[in-house]
Symmetry: C2
Subunit: 212 residues, 2 copies
Protein backbone atom coordinates (compact mmCIF):
# COMPACT_ATOMS: atom_id res chain seq x y z
CA UNK A 1 0.00 0.00 0.00
CA UNK A 2 1.52 3.29 -1.00
CA UNK A 3 -1.03 6.01 -0.35
CA UNK A 4 -0.80 8.50 2.46
CA UNK A 5 -3.63 10.56 3.89
CA UNK A 6 -4.17 13.43 1.50
CA UNK A 7 -3.59 16.61 3.39
CA UNK A 8 -3.93 19.18 0.66
CA UNK A 9 -5.55 22.48 1.43
CA UNK A 10 -9.35 22.37 0.89
CA UNK A 11 -9.06 25.51 -1.25
CA UNK A 12 -6.56 23.72 -3.47
CA UNK A 13 -8.90 20.73 -3.80
CA UNK A 14 -11.56 23.17 -5.04
CA UNK A 15 -9.15 24.84 -7.45
CA UNK A 16 -7.99 21.54 -8.87
CA UNK A 17 -11.56 20.21 -9.11
CA UNK A 18 -12.75 23.34 -10.87
CA UNK A 19 -9.86 23.13 -13.34
CA UNK A 20 -10.87 19.55 -14.21
CA UNK A 21 -14.51 20.61 -14.58
CA UNK A 22 -13.61 23.54 -16.85
CA UNK A 23 -11.57 21.28 -19.06
CA UNK A 24 -14.11 18.47 -19.34
CA UNK A 25 -17.14 20.73 -19.70
CA UNK A 26 -15.91 22.38 -22.88
CA UNK A 27 -18.30 24.80 -24.55
CA UNK A 28 -21.51 25.92 -22.89
CA UNK A 29 -24.02 28.74 -23.07
CA UNK A 30 -23.92 29.91 -19.44
CA UNK A 31 -22.97 33.48 -18.50
CA UNK A 32 -19.93 33.99 -16.26
CA UNK A 33 -22.13 34.37 -13.18
CA UNK A 34 -24.28 31.38 -14.09
CA UNK A 35 -21.20 29.25 -14.69
CA UNK A 36 -20.06 29.86 -11.09
CA UNK A 37 -23.26 28.17 -10.01
CA UNK A 38 -23.24 25.36 -12.57
CA UNK A 39 -19.60 24.56 -11.91
CA UNK A 40 -20.36 24.06 -8.24
CA UNK A 41 -23.38 21.91 -9.07
CA UNK A 42 -21.13 19.70 -11.20
CA UNK A 43 -18.57 19.66 -8.41
CA UNK A 44 -21.23 18.41 -5.96
CA UNK A 45 -22.65 15.77 -8.29
CA UNK A 46 -19.79 14.80 -10.63
CA UNK A 47 -22.55 14.90 -13.21
CA UNK A 48 -22.05 17.02 -16.33
CA UNK A 49 -25.42 15.98 -17.70
CA UNK A 50 -27.08 17.44 -14.62
CA UNK A 51 -24.95 20.57 -14.93
CA UNK A 52 -25.95 21.06 -18.55
CA UNK A 53 -29.63 20.67 -17.61
CA UNK A 54 -29.60 23.72 -15.33
CA UNK A 55 -31.78 26.64 -16.42
CA UNK A 56 -31.66 30.21 -15.12
CA UNK A 57 -34.29 32.86 -15.56
CA UNK A 58 -32.67 36.07 -16.78
CA UNK A 59 -30.70 37.71 -13.94
CA UNK A 60 -31.47 34.97 -11.41
CA UNK A 61 -27.97 34.81 -9.92
CA UNK A 62 -27.86 38.59 -9.53
CA UNK A 63 -31.28 38.51 -7.84
CA UNK A 64 -29.98 35.94 -5.37
CA UNK A 65 -26.88 38.00 -4.59
CA UNK A 66 -29.03 41.09 -4.02
CA UNK A 67 -31.39 39.20 -1.71
CA UNK A 68 -28.54 37.84 0.41
CA UNK A 69 -26.98 41.30 0.72
CA UNK A 70 -30.34 42.71 1.78
CA UNK A 71 -30.47 40.17 4.59
CA UNK A 72 -33.34 38.19 3.11
CA UNK A 73 -33.92 34.77 4.64
CA UNK A 74 -33.50 31.38 3.02
CA UNK A 75 -36.28 28.81 3.29
CA UNK A 76 -35.36 25.20 2.57
CA UNK A 77 -37.74 22.30 2.08
CA UNK A 78 -35.52 19.87 4.02
CA UNK A 79 -33.11 20.15 6.91
CA UNK A 80 -30.22 18.70 4.87
CA UNK A 81 -30.10 21.94 2.87
CA UNK A 82 -29.81 24.00 6.05
CA UNK A 83 -27.06 21.70 7.35
CA UNK A 84 -25.08 21.81 4.13
CA UNK A 85 -25.13 25.57 3.58
CA UNK A 86 -22.56 27.99 4.86
CA UNK A 87 -24.86 29.77 7.30
CA UNK A 88 -22.39 32.50 8.24
CA UNK A 89 -22.38 33.93 4.72
CA UNK A 90 -26.09 34.70 5.16
CA UNK A 91 -25.99 35.76 8.79
CA UNK A 92 -23.38 38.42 8.13
CA UNK A 93 -26.00 40.34 6.13
CA UNK A 94 -28.79 39.69 8.64
CA UNK A 95 -30.44 36.71 6.98
CA UNK A 96 -30.64 33.12 8.14
CA UNK A 97 -31.63 29.65 6.97
CA UNK A 98 -34.96 28.07 7.90
CA UNK A 99 -36.72 24.76 7.40
CA UNK A 100 -40.23 24.34 8.73
CA UNK A 101 -41.03 20.78 7.64
CA UNK A 102 -40.48 19.26 11.09
CA UNK A 103 -42.28 22.01 13.03
CA UNK A 104 -45.09 20.74 15.21
CA UNK A 105 -47.68 23.21 13.85
CA UNK A 106 -46.75 22.20 10.29
CA UNK A 107 -47.18 18.50 11.06
CA UNK A 108 -50.46 19.15 12.82
CA UNK A 109 -51.90 21.32 10.03
CA UNK A 110 -50.76 18.83 7.37
CA UNK A 111 -52.58 16.05 9.19
CA UNK A 112 -55.73 18.16 9.58
CA UNK A 113 -55.82 19.21 5.95
CA UNK A 114 -54.63 15.87 4.55
CA UNK A 115 -51.73 17.37 2.61
CA UNK A 116 -47.97 16.82 2.79
CA UNK A 117 -45.87 18.53 5.46
CA UNK A 118 -43.82 20.00 2.60
CA UNK A 119 -46.88 21.90 1.40
CA UNK A 120 -47.65 23.22 4.85
CA UNK A 121 -44.03 24.25 5.37
CA UNK A 122 -44.23 26.47 2.29
CA UNK A 123 -47.42 28.09 3.56
CA UNK A 124 -45.76 28.79 6.89
CA UNK A 125 -42.73 30.28 5.14
CA UNK A 126 -44.95 32.59 3.10
CA UNK A 127 -46.62 33.77 6.33
CA UNK A 128 -43.33 34.26 8.16
CA UNK A 129 -41.26 35.95 5.48
CA UNK A 130 -41.63 38.83 3.08
CA UNK A 131 -39.72 37.57 0.06
CA UNK A 132 -36.65 35.43 0.61
CA UNK A 133 -34.78 32.73 -1.25
CA UNK A 134 -36.62 29.40 -1.48
CA UNK A 135 -34.27 26.44 -1.83
CA UNK A 136 -36.19 23.29 -2.72
CA UNK A 137 -34.14 20.15 -3.36
CA UNK A 138 -36.31 17.30 -2.28
CA UNK A 139 -40.09 17.68 -2.34
CA UNK A 140 -41.92 18.33 -5.61
CA UNK A 141 -45.04 19.09 -3.56
CA UNK A 142 -43.17 21.97 -1.88
CA UNK A 143 -42.23 23.45 -5.24
CA UNK A 144 -45.72 23.03 -6.70
CA UNK A 145 -47.26 24.65 -3.63
CA UNK A 146 -44.80 27.53 -3.75
CA UNK A 147 -45.68 28.15 -7.40
CA UNK A 148 -49.36 28.18 -6.42
CA UNK A 149 -48.68 30.65 -3.59
CA UNK A 150 -46.82 32.91 -6.03
CA UNK A 151 -49.65 32.79 -8.57
CA UNK A 152 -52.17 33.64 -5.88
CA UNK A 153 -50.06 36.58 -4.74
CA UNK A 154 -49.42 35.07 -1.30
CA UNK A 155 -45.67 34.51 -1.75
CA UNK A 156 -43.23 36.73 -3.58
CA UNK A 157 -39.78 35.09 -3.45
CA UNK A 158 -36.66 37.02 -4.41
CA UNK A 159 -35.37 33.78 -5.93
CA UNK A 160 -36.54 30.20 -6.23
CA UNK A 161 -33.91 27.47 -6.45
CA UNK A 162 -36.12 24.55 -7.44
CA UNK A 163 -34.28 21.30 -7.98
CA UNK A 164 -36.32 18.48 -6.43
CA UNK A 165 -35.25 14.97 -7.41
CA UNK A 166 -37.29 11.90 -8.17
CA UNK A 167 -39.67 9.87 -10.24
CA UNK A 168 -43.04 11.24 -9.14
CA UNK A 169 -43.76 14.89 -10.02
CA UNK A 170 -40.17 16.13 -9.76
CA UNK A 171 -39.65 16.82 -13.47
CA UNK A 172 -43.23 18.09 -13.78
CA UNK A 173 -42.84 20.53 -10.87
CA UNK A 174 -39.76 21.99 -12.54
CA UNK A 175 -41.62 22.36 -15.83
CA UNK A 176 -44.21 24.43 -13.96
CA UNK A 177 -41.41 26.57 -12.53
CA UNK A 178 -40.07 27.19 -16.04
CA UNK A 179 -43.45 28.67 -16.96
CA UNK A 180 -43.52 31.01 -13.97
CA UNK A 181 -43.17 34.66 -14.90
CA UNK A 182 -41.92 37.58 -12.85
CA UNK A 183 -39.99 35.57 -10.23
CA UNK A 184 -36.28 34.77 -10.66
CA UNK A 185 -35.54 31.05 -10.62
CA UNK A 186 -32.84 28.44 -11.00
CA UNK A 187 -33.94 24.95 -11.90
CA UNK A 188 -33.05 22.02 -14.12
CA UNK A 189 -34.73 19.85 -16.70
CA UNK A 190 -35.57 16.28 -15.77
CA UNK A 191 -35.68 13.97 -12.77
CA UNK A 192 -32.28 14.67 -11.32
CA UNK A 193 -31.58 17.22 -8.60
CA UNK A 194 -31.49 16.89 -4.82
CA UNK A 195 -30.34 18.50 -1.63
CA UNK A 196 -26.62 18.45 -2.40
CA UNK A 197 -26.96 20.23 -5.75
CA UNK A 198 -29.43 22.72 -4.25
CA UNK A 199 -26.88 23.42 -1.52
CA UNK A 200 -24.20 23.80 -4.21
CA UNK A 201 -26.28 26.45 -6.01
CA UNK A 202 -27.06 28.28 -2.78
CA UNK A 203 -23.44 28.23 -1.64
CA UNK A 204 -22.21 29.43 -5.03
CA UNK A 205 -24.51 32.44 -4.85
CA UNK A 206 -23.62 33.26 -1.26
CA UNK A 207 -19.92 33.09 -2.13
CA UNK A 208 -20.55 35.44 -5.06
CA UNK A 209 -22.42 37.79 -2.70
CA UNK A 210 -19.23 37.99 -0.67
CA UNK A 211 -16.92 38.46 -3.65
CA UNK A 212 -18.45 40.39 -6.51
CA UNK B 1 -53.03 26.27 -15.26
CA UNK B 2 -54.59 23.02 -14.24
CA UNK B 3 -52.48 21.45 -11.53
CA UNK B 4 -53.46 21.20 -7.93
CA UNK B 5 -51.15 20.64 -4.99
CA UNK B 6 -50.34 16.97 -4.95
CA UNK B 7 -51.50 15.55 -1.66
CA UNK B 8 -50.80 11.89 -2.11
CA UNK B 9 -49.59 9.87 0.82
CA UNK B 10 -45.77 9.87 1.07
CA UNK B 11 -45.84 6.07 1.29
CA UNK B 12 -47.72 5.97 -2.01
CA UNK B 13 -45.15 8.30 -3.60
CA UNK B 14 -42.48 5.80 -2.54
CA UNK B 15 -44.46 2.84 -3.85
CA UNK B 16 -45.07 4.49 -7.19
CA UNK B 17 -41.46 5.65 -7.47
CA UNK B 18 -40.15 2.19 -6.66
CA UNK B 19 -42.45 0.64 -9.26
CA UNK B 20 -41.04 2.99 -11.91
CA UNK B 21 -37.49 2.20 -10.82
CA UNK B 22 -38.11 -1.57 -10.94
CA UNK B 23 -39.50 -1.29 -14.44
CA UNK B 24 -36.77 0.94 -15.86
CA UNK B 25 -33.89 -0.85 -14.15
CA UNK B 26 -34.58 -4.18 -15.82
CA UNK B 27 -32.05 -6.95 -15.14
CA UNK B 28 -29.34 -6.59 -12.55
CA UNK B 29 -27.04 -8.76 -10.46
CA UNK B 30 -27.95 -7.47 -6.98
CA UNK B 31 -29.32 -9.78 -4.28
CA UNK B 32 -32.77 -9.03 -2.86
CA UNK B 33 -31.28 -7.28 0.18
CA UNK B 34 -28.79 -5.33 -1.91
CA UNK B 35 -31.52 -4.25 -4.29
CA UNK B 36 -33.42 -2.61 -1.40
CA UNK B 37 -30.39 -0.38 -0.95
CA UNK B 38 -29.69 0.26 -4.63
CA UNK B 39 -33.34 1.06 -5.34
CA UNK B 40 -33.29 3.74 -2.67
CA UNK B 41 -30.01 5.15 -4.02
CA UNK B 42 -31.62 5.42 -7.46
CA UNK B 43 -34.69 6.99 -5.87
CA UNK B 44 -32.51 9.65 -4.22
CA UNK B 45 -30.47 10.42 -7.32
CA UNK B 46 -32.72 9.56 -10.28
CA UNK B 47 -29.50 8.09 -11.66
CA UNK B 48 -29.52 4.47 -12.84
CA UNK B 49 -25.87 4.69 -13.85
CA UNK B 50 -24.98 5.54 -10.28
CA UNK B 51 -27.23 2.74 -9.03
CA UNK B 52 -25.54 0.19 -11.29
CA UNK B 53 -22.12 1.34 -10.08
CA UNK B 54 -22.82 0.32 -6.47
CA UNK B 55 -20.66 -2.50 -5.09
CA UNK B 56 -21.30 -4.52 -1.93
CA UNK B 57 -18.81 -6.70 -0.12
CA UNK B 58 -20.36 -10.08 0.60
CA UNK B 59 -22.98 -9.78 3.36
CA UNK B 60 -22.55 -6.02 3.76
CA UNK B 61 -26.26 -5.24 4.11
CA UNK B 62 -26.69 -7.99 6.69
CA UNK B 63 -23.69 -6.64 8.63
CA UNK B 64 -25.30 -3.18 8.69
CA UNK B 65 -28.60 -4.57 9.93
CA UNK B 66 -26.84 -6.51 12.68
CA UNK B 67 -24.86 -3.44 13.77
CA UNK B 68 -27.99 -1.28 13.99
CA UNK B 69 -29.82 -3.92 16.03
CA UNK B 70 -26.84 -4.17 18.38
CA UNK B 71 -27.12 -0.43 19.00
CA UNK B 72 -23.88 0.44 17.23
CA UNK B 73 -23.37 4.10 16.43
CA UNK B 74 -23.21 5.76 13.03
CA UNK B 75 -20.37 8.14 12.23
CA UNK B 76 -20.90 10.49 9.28
CA UNK B 77 -18.26 12.63 7.62
CA UNK B 78 -20.65 15.59 7.17
CA UNK B 79 -23.61 16.95 9.09
CA UNK B 80 -25.92 16.64 6.06
CA UNK B 81 -25.86 12.87 6.49
CA UNK B 82 -26.93 13.17 10.12
CA UNK B 83 -29.73 15.58 9.15
CA UNK B 84 -31.04 13.39 6.36
CA UNK B 85 -31.12 10.11 8.24
CA UNK B 86 -34.07 8.78 10.19
CA UNK B 87 -32.42 9.04 13.61
CA UNK B 88 -35.20 7.28 15.51
CA UNK B 89 -34.60 4.01 13.67
CA UNK B 90 -31.10 3.93 15.22
CA UNK B 91 -32.01 5.30 18.63
CA UNK B 92 -34.62 2.61 19.22
CA UNK B 93 -31.80 0.07 19.39
CA UNK B 94 -29.52 2.30 21.48
CA UNK B 95 -27.38 3.76 18.71
CA UNK B 96 -27.17 7.32 17.45
CA UNK B 97 -25.72 9.41 14.62
CA UNK B 98 -22.55 11.45 15.05
CA UNK B 99 -20.51 13.88 12.99
CA UNK B 100 -17.31 15.27 14.46
CA UNK B 101 -16.06 17.47 11.62
CA UNK B 102 -17.18 20.74 13.21
CA UNK B 103 -16.01 19.89 16.74
CA UNK B 104 -13.61 22.41 18.18
CA UNK B 105 -10.99 19.83 19.18
CA UNK B 106 -11.10 18.37 15.65
CA UNK B 107 -10.58 21.79 14.06
CA UNK B 108 -7.76 22.58 16.45
CA UNK B 109 -5.96 19.27 15.93
CA UNK B 110 -6.36 19.52 12.15
CA UNK B 111 -4.76 22.96 12.21
CA UNK B 112 -1.91 21.76 14.42
CA UNK B 113 -1.16 18.71 12.31
CA UNK B 114 -1.80 20.39 8.95
CA UNK B 115 -4.37 17.82 7.81
CA UNK B 116 -8.03 18.12 6.86
CA UNK B 117 -10.74 18.24 9.52
CA UNK B 118 -12.28 15.21 7.82
CA UNK B 119 -9.18 13.16 8.67
CA UNK B 120 -9.21 14.31 12.28
CA UNK B 121 -12.93 13.56 12.59
CA UNK B 122 -12.25 9.93 11.64
CA UNK B 123 -9.49 9.66 14.23
CA UNK B 124 -11.84 11.03 16.88
CA UNK B 125 -14.56 8.57 15.84
CA UNK B 126 -12.13 5.66 16.15
CA UNK B 127 -11.22 6.83 19.66
CA UNK B 128 -14.85 7.33 20.71
CA UNK B 129 -16.46 4.19 19.28
CA UNK B 130 -15.79 0.49 19.30
CA UNK B 131 -16.97 -0.50 15.80
CA UNK B 132 -19.92 1.31 14.30
CA UNK B 133 -21.20 2.17 10.85
CA UNK B 134 -19.12 4.78 9.03
CA UNK B 135 -21.15 6.75 6.46
CA UNK B 136 -18.88 8.83 4.23
CA UNK B 137 -20.52 10.76 1.42
CA UNK B 138 -18.43 13.82 0.94
CA UNK B 139 -14.76 13.75 1.89
CA UNK B 140 -12.36 11.36 0.14
CA UNK B 141 -9.77 12.22 2.80
CA UNK B 142 -12.14 10.85 5.47
CA UNK B 143 -12.48 7.57 3.62
CA UNK B 144 -8.74 7.25 2.95
CA UNK B 145 -7.98 7.96 6.59
CA UNK B 146 -10.57 5.45 7.78
CA UNK B 147 -9.00 2.80 5.53
CA UNK B 148 -5.61 3.63 7.03
CA UNK B 149 -7.01 3.35 10.57
CA UNK B 150 -8.48 -0.05 9.72
CA UNK B 151 -5.20 -1.30 8.27
CA UNK B 152 -3.34 -0.15 11.35
CA UNK B 153 -5.82 -1.94 13.61
CA UNK B 154 -7.05 1.32 15.19
CA UNK B 155 -10.60 1.24 13.73
CA UNK B 156 -12.76 -1.83 13.21
CA UNK B 157 -16.04 -0.67 11.62
CA UNK B 158 -19.02 -3.00 11.43
CA UNK B 159 -19.76 -1.48 8.02
CA UNK B 160 -18.30 1.26 5.84
CA UNK B 161 -20.64 3.09 3.48
CA UNK B 162 -18.08 4.93 1.39
CA UNK B 163 -19.55 7.05 -1.39
CA UNK B 164 -17.68 10.35 -1.52
CA UNK B 165 -18.27 12.44 -4.64
CA UNK B 166 -15.93 14.57 -6.68
CA UNK B 167 -13.03 15.06 -9.01
CA UNK B 168 -10.07 14.89 -6.65
CA UNK B 169 -9.43 11.52 -4.96
CA UNK B 170 -13.08 10.43 -4.71
CA UNK B 171 -12.88 7.60 -7.24
CA UNK B 172 -9.41 6.66 -5.99
CA UNK B 173 -10.55 6.50 -2.35
CA UNK B 174 -13.33 4.10 -3.36
CA UNK B 175 -10.85 1.92 -5.27
CA UNK B 176 -8.86 1.63 -2.05
CA UNK B 177 -12.03 0.61 -0.20
CA UNK B 178 -12.67 -2.11 -2.79
CA UNK B 179 -9.29 -3.60 -1.91
CA UNK B 180 -9.99 -3.63 1.83
CA UNK B 181 -10.39 -7.11 3.28
CA UNK B 182 -12.24 -8.23 6.39
CA UNK B 183 -14.51 -5.19 6.76
CA UNK B 184 -18.00 -5.08 5.20
CA UNK B 185 -18.44 -2.17 2.80
CA UNK B 186 -20.85 -0.54 0.38
CA UNK B 187 -19.33 1.75 -2.23
CA UNK B 188 -19.55 2.65 -5.90
CA UNK B 189 -17.24 2.89 -8.86
CA UNK B 190 -16.36 6.33 -10.16
CA UNK B 191 -16.69 9.98 -9.23
CA UNK B 192 -20.37 10.09 -8.37
CA UNK B 193 -21.78 9.71 -4.88
CA UNK B 194 -22.60 12.27 -2.23
CA UNK B 195 -24.49 12.86 0.99
CA UNK B 196 -27.96 12.15 -0.39
CA UNK B 197 -27.07 8.73 -1.79
CA UNK B 198 -25.14 7.86 1.37
CA UNK B 199 -28.24 8.80 3.38
CA UNK B 200 -30.33 6.67 1.02
CA UNK B 201 -28.13 3.63 1.67
CA UNK B 202 -28.14 4.22 5.40
CA UNK B 203 -31.90 4.69 5.53
CA UNK B 204 -32.50 1.59 3.41
CA UNK B 205 -30.48 -0.51 5.85
CA UNK B 206 -32.14 0.98 8.93
CA UNK B 207 -35.58 0.31 7.41
CA UNK B 208 -34.53 -3.29 6.73
CA UNK B 209 -33.33 -3.56 10.34
CA UNK B 210 -36.88 -2.72 11.39
CA UNK B 211 -38.56 -5.07 8.93
CA UNK B 212 -36.62 -8.22 8.24
Amino acid sequence: MNFKPITVDPDKIYDYSFAIIEEEMGEHHFSDMEWQVVRRIIHASADFELGRSVVFSHGAVEAGIKAIREGKHVIADVQMIVSGSGRKRFQKYGGDLHCYISDEDVSQEAKEEGVTRAIMSMRKAAREHEGGIYAIGNAPTALLELIRLVKEGIAKPDLIIGMPVGFVSAAESKEELLKLEGIPYITNIGRKGGSTVTVAALNAISILADQV
